[in-house]
Symmetry: none
Subunit: 137 residues, 4 copies
DNA sequence: GTGGTCTAGACCACC
DNA sequence: GTGGTCTAGACCACG
């Protein structure tokens, strides 16, 4: 199976973290269904042009979060996630980002109205770009 | 002068970065006026319970951004910020946070309407809390 | 012949080891008598929903331990176990598990009395459940 | 600070796991107090005669369990653990080992009385050895 | 083939 | 000095 991951080499964000974030999104949003067999560590490392140990770390971290299940000698699979849990997971991820933005705005003494106005601009721009690759960092 | 900085020790965010972010906000938003003499490095380090080298880095970074000015043997002052520059600066900071949140939501396949709904919830909550310390990470 | 083996997929314990442990118990305890013809590798693999190579390994390991005997073209049989040998074998297996538990307790600085108390609780619980399938991992 | 860890090179148990188990015991049992600064990764690796990456893994796993807290550029510390949580943690570790032993005995068709008798023998032996190094695997 | 462990060393960021 | 990331490759265990 082919997994589309965008790597930003010039970013300060660690490689393993970029991969984790994107893979987590795809799993939690259901784009990669439960039970799916992911690429082998070596294969994925090859396609991402990084070392196997980096992919290993990604798989292990996500397994610790309960999103993956790995069987020695067999491969790594997407774990079963309760639907309710999935929804909560998604919402938490987005909520945190929204709250961080609101905190920043408040500490800069933006009013509620100013902030909402800015957000509407962002929404307009982002959802117009959607599909052209608007999800990379 | 007393500068209210909130340190979150358990956060993964580097210490110097937490301090920089908050100090930058206070300067750019005008909460600390032009020409204000900041605490000495040692004094500030003492009140933050961190090492002097960390405060030194904060002052230096903000000086490089043009927000502070250091006079040998005298101390560190808040520099003059052009009004136009100030607005642009503020907006950029908030904009980046909003865009990050929108990117996260889009990658999780949220619709524009769902996202806006979540944001309204956050706004309601955050602006209600305002003044009770809603700006720490 | 039907052999009741409980597979725990989510366990970290290797598949072949889970099977070996349970099969060994049944042989040593006499639940599967001497001379019994075990299922063919393919058949057993089918009923366990695992690969034939795994069952092959189990049979081979137990044959090396002297618990099984393979006759070319005929099948795999439970070997003769000396009564004295049987007792020693059983006791060793249990002894090792008890010692491991005691070591863990000692390293956590449990007193002899506390440990014994915990064990009595476990005994009460386990021997009450017995027969309802209390032997799977 | 000096941490006494016993490495069994000939064991099948992974190195990192041996270290984790022993360090976890010392933390949970209170032998290493809250807030204690552990040896640096490199120093510990040197004294254990293993690679730094292995110690790194140990520290990270225990941090994920909430037993350690690490601060970049500063070091790795024993985290604050609630007393109630600590007790539960200890009991769980021992309980699991006891249950595994009981399960083994039951599957070998030991009676409750036989098993208890064996355990008393183990207890006598182990608590006599205590202090002579009875906690290694 | 698969994942799991471990090494020796590099380079960076933080304090 | 500290921890954090990443590499290239080795060897083992599992299916």
């Amino acid at each position: 199976m082919w997994i589309p991951i965008q790597i930003n080499e010039s970013s300060a964000e660690p490689l393993y973290h970029q991969i984790e974030t994107q893979l987590r999104s795809m799993i939690v949003s259901g784009q990669i269904g439960e039970g799916t067999l992911l690429p082998s560590i070596r294969e994925f490392a090859g396609s991402l042009n990084c070392s196997a140990i980096t992919v290993r770390r990604v798989y292990q971290d996500l397994e610790n979060e309960g999103l993956l299940r790995t069987k020695q000698g067999t491969g790594t699979f997407v774990a079963k996630v309760e639907e309710s849990q999935r929804g909560a997971f998604k919402q938490t991820l987005v909520m945190e980002a929204l709250e961080a933005a609101a905190d920043a705005a408040i500490s800069l003494q933006y009013s509620k109205e100013e902030l909402l106005d800015l957000f509407m601009q962002v929404l307009g721009r982002k959802y117009e770009d959607k599909g052209k690759g608007g999800d990379q960092k």
